[in-house]
Amino acid sequence: MVLSNKAQKRLTWWAFFIGAMCPLLLLVLSTVVGKLGADPAKEIVLELGLWAAVMLWLSLAASTLRRRVSFSWLMRYRRMLGLYAFCYAVLHFLAFATFIVGWRIDLLVQELVKRPYIVVGALAIIMLVPLVLTSTKGMQRRLGRRWVSLHKLVYVVALLVLLHIVWMVRASYFDAVVFGGLLLLMYGDRLRFEYLKYKSKKV
């Protein structure tokens, strides 16, 4: 069966959309059947946070991969990945506020101001808001060049998220090394690209 180009595109879009939602669906399923162990609160918060970071890193990888190996296919889903990162991050925060703090506002406020890793995490979510609001094609058109500058904010967000991860290290550096290493590669590549662009302009 040969699908028309449009139908094929639509199908991949849905595959991507559902694929990125799978971690959430699996998490809900595990919760419902009681597979999360004795302390589901903690598991849910950690899992949602992990996927928020994974989605954000994937959205960053889209442009790196395009530059590097002209792998532009992921680029089409960059917006979706970014929006998913935001969704997972918001759920991550809501799960923390609900299951860990139990919406005790005094405790929540205290946590939000006193814990450096929570401060940077919250800041990262807040900084994603303008990016989410301007993520539509219409906004992209209206803002033009300023859209590109605004969305460079995502580089700061990712650094805050990395800091959030590093400050949570207790007994293993694994997460910090993996996420940090990937970010280093992507930022290094980006800087090199900017440098080459700058040099070629000068010549």
Binding site: A38, P40, A41, I44, I100, G102, S172
Partner: protein, 335 residues
């Protein structure tokens, strides 16, 4: 006395009936305590029934009669509901077997904990190597139901079987220079995959310690059983410390060495992050861990939509028994 058993169970899985009957049971895996015969402060060992399908840990032959003879020490036991058996044997922090809560129960089942010997060193008259079997055979075991409060802000109520730490330590006759006692966990990367991790930030073997007066406090306990049976590997088989007024990481597992020392020992978490984990590590809602609050705790099992979040008590509710140990000490500085 033996009561008829279902034939389907392999003999290796059979646990003495005098300890508990394994039978299909009850709501949400809750273990129900069938207390009988209470006289004074001690009463017969609590009997537990487990849901089908969960592993049981009868322990080596020599240990079974000792466990079965244990009596519940009511004076030192809480009447709060105990955590369900599945939670106790699958929600464990035992980084020697991995960082995930379920890693220890998955990766420790072939751990060899019998025979087991303990090296006693330092400022005591009777130092040397002891067989756990010999040590326990001359002891009377008892059951104590304690609250366990983890530094990660969750807690459980757990029925241990063991002996007072003081009873054990006095047997080695510590001298007047023994101001501290240090405990060391087995180091065996072959058996303990967590000790092979390339990204770990902890030094092995795991080391913990107590001031000698803390160790001699009647609440300090050495456990060799839990839930009416032998201690499972993930819970620190065959022999672990239980100091219920301190954060759980003080209650060191699978102990192979006990040293009496003049100076305060360097303990694992304190060495790894001195700002976060003090030597004393007394449960204290007024002193936050730098990265999270210690004011409340999730009493497990905690259901999601009515989370069982309760206020944490000073010394985990054991202030009456232990607060005097720290009279005049600034507990913010000595956290």
């Amino acid at each position: 006395m033996l009561i008829g058993k279902p034939d389907a169970i392999k003999s290796s899985e059979i646990t003495p009936e005098s300890v508990y009957k394994q039978r299909r049971l009850f709501m949400q895996g809750a273990a129900v305590a069938l207390v009988s015969l209470s006289t004074g402060s001690a009463s017969a060992l609590t009997q537990y029934e487990f849901e089908d399908g969960w592993p049981t840990y009868p322990g080596p032959e020599w240990k079974r009669p000792l466990l079965a003879a244990a009596q519940l020490n009511k004076q030192f036991s809480t009447s709060e509901p105990v955590a369900p058996y599945p939670s106790v044997i699958t929600h464990n922090n035992f980084y020697e077997f991995g960082l995930g809560k379920e890693d220890p129960s998955r990766l420790s089942q072939s751990f060899v904990s019998d025979p087991w010997s303990i090296e006693v060193e330092g400022e005591a008259a009777k130092t040397g190597r002891y067989n756990l079997e010999d040590l326990l055979k001359e002891s009377e075991l008892e059951e104590r139901i304690y609250r366990l409060r983890c530094v990660e802000a969750w807690s459980m109520v757990i029925p241990w079987i063991g002996l007072p730490l003081a009873t054990l330590l006095k047997r080695f006759e510590p001298n007047s220079r023994a101001n501290f006692v240090e405990f060391v966990t087995l180091e065996d990367p072959e058996q303990m995959p967590g000790q092979r991790s390339a990204f770990g930030s902890l030094d092995w073997p795991y080391v913990e310690g107590l001031r000698i007066d803390e160790a001699m406090n009647p609440l300090a306990f050495m456990a060799t059983g839990v839930y009416g049976q032998s201690l499972p590997p993930q819970n620190g088989a065959p022999f672990r410390l239980v100091v219920p007024w301190k954060y759980g990481f003080k209650s060191i597992k699978s102990i192979v060495k006990i040293r009496f020392l003049e100076e305060m020992p360097a303990v694992t978490w304190n060495r790894s992050a001195p700002r976060e984990y003090g030597f004393y590590a007394n449960v204290n809602p007024a002193v936050d861990h730098p990265r999270w609050s210690q004011a409340t705790e999730r009493r497990l099992p905690s259901s999601l939509f009515s989370p069982n979040i309760i206020d944490t008590l000073p010394f985990n509710g054991y202030a009456e028994e232990v607060a005097s140990l720290y009279a005049g000490m600034d507990l913010t500085a000595w956290f």
